[in-house]
Symmetry: D2
Subunit: 283 residues, 4 copies
Amino acid sequence: MPAVPFRINAWLQYEVLERSTMLLSIHALSTARQKLRKEVFRVTPGASWEELPRVPGGNRYIRLDTGDVRHLEISYAVEATTRCALVGLDEIHRTAIAKIPHQKIPYLFPSRYCQSDRLWRLAMKTFGGTEHPYDQVRAISDWIFENIDYLYGATNVETSAFDTVTQRAGVCRDFAHLGIAFCRALSIPARYLTGYACNMRPQDFHACFEAYIGSDWFAFDPTRMAALDGLVRIATGRDAADASVATIFGRMDLTGMSVSCESEEFEAIGPDALERAAMMIGP
Amino acid sequence: MPAVPFRINAWLQYEVLERSTMLLSIHALSTARQKLRKEVFRVTPGASWEELPRVPGGNRYIRLDTGDVRHLEISYAVEATTRCALVGLDEIHRTAIAKIPHQKIPYLFPSRYCQSDRLWRLAMKTFGGTEHPYDQVRAISDWIFENIDYLYGATNVETSAFDTVTQRAGVCRDFAHLGIAFCRALSIPARYLTGYACNMRPQDFHACFEAYIGSDWFAFDPTRMAALDGLVRIATGRDAADASVATIFGRMDLTGMSVSCESEEFEAIGPDALERAAMMIGP
Amino acid sequence: MPAVPFRINAWLQYEVLERSTMLLSIHALSTARQKLRKEVFRVTPGASWEELPRVPGGNRYIRLDTGDVRHLEISYAVEATTRCALVGLDEIHRTAIAKIPHQKIPYLFPSRYCQSDRLWRLAMKTFGGTEHPYDQVRAISDWIFENIDYLYGATNVETSAFDTVTQRAGVCRDFAHLGIAFCRALSIPARYLTGYACNMRPQDFHACFEAYIGSDWFAFDPTRMAALDGLVRIATGRDAADASVATIFGRMDLTGMSVSCESEEFEAIGPDALERAAMMIGP
Amino acid sequence: MPAVPFRINAWLQYEVLERSTMLLSIHALSTARQKLRKEVFRVTPGASWEELPRVPGGNRYIRLDTGDVRHLEISYAVEATTRCALVGLDEIHRTAIAKIPHQKIPYLFPSRYCQSDRLWRLAMKTFGGTEHPYDQVRAISDWIFENIDYLYGATNVETSAFDTVTQRAGVCRDFAHLGIAFCRALSIPARYLTGYACNMRPQDFHACFEAYIGSDWFAFDPTRMAALDGLVRIATGRDAADASVATIFGRMDLTGMSVSCESEEFEAIGPDALERAAMMIGP
């Protein structure tokens, strides 16, 4: 697929109640499929920050110390060019458990928000009849879209896949967690993915998930709110515990936020193409 | 501390109900502090296995395919020599969140069995008054020993720290999970540790936890059933989801098990020494 | 339907670890539809007991003080004659919420094991399209039979409908709780029912549920293990918290149990009859 | 204690999204200790309502049908005169389980929000050393006040005692649920109580709990926000599932609310008096 440029802006505003440290995960990743330029990161003077040295394959984290700042503003801008790949479905082989590479094994295990161990019987009953793992994951993503209501306010930061599968409502984070939990319950490695989503309305940080099938990570968005090829990758992890936008050690209240991801050239590939091919956006 | 040799034997027996794959985590680690020799691993002929290439800092995993074997026996023997280190308490510095190295950050996040996000208020109320993080973790370990009953049958594989903190009963796995959850709630990185424990009665695989303080991982056993310097390390992880003895993909029932870890030379250091020093057994 | 006589025997054996009080709910009820004779209740000499005065519409409870008895045996025998009623489906009217009598209203509320408040969206999506409440409850009972595996050991006394709906396995108690939770989520009063079940294999105390539709309670058994017209009623309640066989205040271990419910005359009505009619076994 | 008159006003406003039925529990009870006069209940014309016939000892429920009303207002006013009783602590006897009257037994069982079965070990460890049940309940109420933060927004309608005991924050409803769960775990019958609280700031519906000790129900308010002798009783139940202000069958959003309970004559008895005596406000 062609390279597509995106202009990204993010802005966060906090009321700092006591001097705090925060881990920020809002920087786009630089990968073989995603190139960055003109990256600008600014915080209110008085706060200090550093970017942590990146572990290979890991996320970018900014560690920020609020110092004495009370009204903290954080802004981030970047131009990212991504180059997704479509892989024909007949080229994706199923991977026996016996062949999953070591680095992917942790993505088979249950995590804070994805209790795959408690969902395996339901997963087997619902998706166990499907043969190919890619078809299973597509069935999972479709099932979530059809059965879970996208609804603000129905869930909170403690809500997990085990809740969502019964409560049947949530936001992109909850949709992704449920997809991950179902995949792992079927012995398919799956991980959480955050990003900037081009043209998504309303504009916000977005979350979806990737499943490891054959020898690649393929992306799925059970909310169907964003085009997968319009996604600029921020972070991956086992679930939102690893990849939340901000982890705060101290006391701060979010008082404002805006996000945008625009492109003049981007044109999402149609659903027809995605019927016949899988989307790789990962590193 | 002096190097101490241990002789380890483990034996597992399964009834295989359908052809299955299992991930085994029973091999001792080879680290700067732990040397192995005469390692022998055997399985019933007909089953096949391979050791996965080890990720740096990762666990050893054996992937085993049962093939057509119905009565599966697995045996493992090794001689391990460990060399723990005692670090004087006044040499352990507190690490600001702002200084925790990147690789340790995932150990701050909540995980499947350690929902530190839901325990932080309790952790702050109970241990927040203690100044030094080492003293906090020791207080956590003591609190667990004093408040949780060691009891077989009260918990199962789904039990998490959030359950245990109220239900007040469990086994070594539950004790470790609660310790980890409290540490992370206090912004102290913590991880799960499995091992062979010399002279523990009854003999079994053991679990405890490590907390990252200053610039090292220190070990704590809130069950007080095993001597920390008599522990031969098998695996570490965020919690038992990463480091269970056996993860089964298929259908197999455990029908027999024995474990032993013996040493003629081992003499546990006394509680007095541990009053003044912390135990490093890790890599 | 004709009156049918049943011979019931129950025997319980306990190891008493400390002097305890227990509430027993194993006595058959005497109601307009269920007559008793030759009732015999015996306990090991040294233990004392009384039957609590029965609240109108309430259960029969035996309060037993173990005294100094260490090996406690409890036996109960009775001959019960029941007369169920079949009501043609076209005679059952739907009851608007606005017409449910006051005494039935508590059976609309969530309870310990039946968190109908957390299942309403799922209930609406799954059964909301069905018009008549009787058809809804029948659809619920069928859905449970088809989707939940009857499996010993998968659940315990803490398991609730919220667990079972995802974990998809359980025993009669769990099946009944899920039926009740779904009914209440659809604004249909529902209650838990325990009884002796004629010819059930294996013989055990049985649990199913009743839903209040039109102006009567109708019985449903989502396990399909027992014939509804072969059920001798012991107790009803909001869920198993109200109607467990034994509630123990103290420390006692169950060491033996046998139950039987036999009849020479009983012949269960066939599924055809139940296609066209609903079963009333209640008072 | 002298009779005290209170003037009560309550006003609720809803946006009705579809025709709905609601059960309202905002009417003060008429009991031997609480007399009512000048009761006025009004709803927006077009909505219809009836008061359900009261079950002996039960709550008053208004069943309201919104009809075609879109902006629904509900107002309630009454003058209530209450006469509490103080009972000297040495007059309160402990009740053996073996003597608890049948009607109180359901208040020993776990309920939706009060999972006493999961808290018993914690309850025994924390309060088991106290001899007299009245002292135990007072210790429970004090413990909750001291250990749980009163905080809006930390909990929601699904929060239960099992959550609160660890999360350590909540509102009056959560405080009451935890008190009830602890009592029942100690085999003390306990129930949920809602009421209008004189001079409470901010004015709102209030919830606390009652424990059955000796032969009476005694009231406790672990929030210490309201004077127990300034409470006008609305409803009791096993927990908030039985006694919530409004249970809605349909779709309505609360858009406004005000509550007041005033008295010119009321003077709360001091803490000294409550050191030596227990408060009975019940029927």
